[in-house]
């Protein structure tokens, strides 16, 4: 897989990546897309979410601070995206924590076509129908073969499934990638999961094989995190360097460091 090739396409084509996301990490989601070289936009009003989605090259949905009204705006955006064949990434942030999150996640998955479902282990387990209680938005341990879990959900929902964690898993029905890039420091910064979805959104906008796009995105993100960790003494410096490194990544660095199994 030519990961740098996809990144270069993002930088050249500057796709518009539309988000309906949570209010906590919305800036970071926008900014990670920006430093990647793409063009982020966030427009959640039901009166324009569909129009904006129609202009975009991909759509990222994140239920981190959902309300029922917000989910309706997501559906409007998603239907517009579906109509035009624009890929949709759904981050099921906090699924398993409350009844509302579960219900609305299933509603989205049932009523619109989601191309990439992304979550941490406990979120994806819950979306797959496992009886897991998520603690807020952070992951809890799941006793289950994660690749099987991902492949099962991919089959069930006819989409790509991404499980983020120490190693990230990207699966469709027939194959899977294990992305080994990344750094432990990512777990000490709010929003690294949300930003992962945004990068996947940007890569999906320019590369048709969405499993490759997701795996490539996570590898690029993880490589930047590894570089950032080596330049920082704490989580806030780390985050700053993460953005800087994504902006600067070149072919040589990516090809030297990428670890996808």
């Amino acid at each position: 897989m030519d990961i740098y090739g996809i990144l270069e396409k993002v930088r050249t084509e500057k796709p518009l990546v539309h988000h309906l996301t949570n209010w906590v990490t919305i800036y970071d989601c926008a900014n990670i897309v920006k430093v990647l070289g793409a063009s982020p936009v966030m427009a959640h009003a039901r009166e324009e979410s569909g129009d904006m989605a129609s202009l975009a090259s991909s759509l990222v949905l994140n239920i981190g601070t959902l309300t029922p009204e917000f989910i309706e705006s997501m559906k409007i955006a998603a239907r517009a995206a579906n109509k035009k064949g624009i890929p949709i990434v759904l981050d099921v942030c906090g699924a398993g924590a409350t009844k509302l999150r579960d219900e609305k996640s299933f509603e989205l998955l049932d009523q619109v076509k989601i191309d990439v479902i992304k979550g941490n282990t406990s979120e994806i387990a819950r979306i797959s129908g496992e009886n897991v209680q998520t603690k807020g938005v952070d992951s809890v341990e799941v006793e289950k073969n994660l690749i099987e879990l991902a492949e099962h959900l991919a089959e069930q929902r006819n989409s790509i499934v991404v499980i983020t964690g120490k190693e990230d898993i990207v699966a469709d029905k027939t194959r899977h990638f294990i992305v080994k890039n990344g750094h432990e420091m990512m777990a000490h910064v709010v929003g690294t999961g949300c930003m992962a979805a945004s990068i996947i959104g940007a890569f999906s906008a320019v590369h048709k094989d969405l499993a490759e796009a997701a795996a490539g995105a996570l590898s690029v993100y993880g490589i930047a995190a590894e570089l950032a960790a080596s330049e920082s003494r704490g989580p806030a410096t780390f985050k700053e360097k993460l953005f800087d490194n994504i902006y600067r990544l070149d072919r040589e660095t990516i090809e030297k460091l990428q670890r996808i199994g």
Copy 2:
């Protein structure tokens, strides 16, 4: 008071700290809780704010960008927290600036049990019934003995009262702490007040004596600020180093620098 002991408990127990807070500093509130070692969550929909509060170990409310609907979600969360004995910190951000803020602050204080009331001098003066006009969300000078002010409100509302400022005051009906840690640079960054409430929330989640929890939290925060100021040349670098230092704080540093009177 073994402040480091409380911090260590936060790091070990990783309590879930639920927030219904303002949209300006929501990321920083989440991130300060994260770098402290706890687990932040923000869920404001009335359909889940109570469920999430029931899962949490403490609840932080902040009226910085309130709406009447948002206050209703706060009440739902607060009632769920009250029912389970989960401590609630209320930041009366901007009280005294508008009629809405005053009314809604009093509504919250009257209708649910608040465990820690936190504000700057003019906000707390207003909540105590003094006729003070706050300028936006920044403090104005109040001609009044601040310890008396805090103790009076603590008595009146049967809660801990925190007045932040050059020196922070933490009072209950019978005793008070004066926290002398901190740095002038905190006044040049948006959100340092809001983050103080979040740290108090995290400490309250693991330490039953809430006056000690609040004083310890403010001391830890202030120590990190002192260290950050010595490493930075401006407010943005200062803020980054503040997060880094909270993440790194050890027993030796805290015991050397803590100043609580």
Copy 3:
């Protein structure tokens, strides 16, 4: 024009700059006002947006994540500001991207008095009645003499018009300034446009000649960006240094570096 004199007035008078802005860059808008030495506040509830505007020294409106309800709150704030002669800056963020943005921008311009209209090239073109399709919130090229465009809109709406770009244009009916300060790196960070409006808001709060206030604000901002770029290796470090430099700017630096034509 004594730009430093205006900045010094901001630092001394610490005007309250009220915002009804978007949820993506709201923290940065608040923080840029803070490091400038002024006092930011964000209060969007219709029940208090007018009260808060009445307390303020300027009002900044930004439609980046508009909803119809949010626009109603803006109108309430704007009417209160108009009544008291408090200057209003409107950032027509994303105008031209969707029907909603166009309609609501025109509604605001028709129903309240806006003192400074600010946007990038494609946004201002659209607001002037040109048939331009904006891509999300980023600018597209416009084949048109930009000074004419600005002056035309200034005449039409009886207000100051600011077009941000590689060089910024500030125009009223009879004269214009071209601000040549700034740095290419600003285009790689989310929110630099929004922050420009906030700085203009702070300068407008203390300097009656609003064209001078806007040009001075953009020059100060651009100078800080130039200094920041020379101290950083990527967009996130750049942003941090931008805040630090605004905080530190002195007369000597400004007078040496200011480039206004």
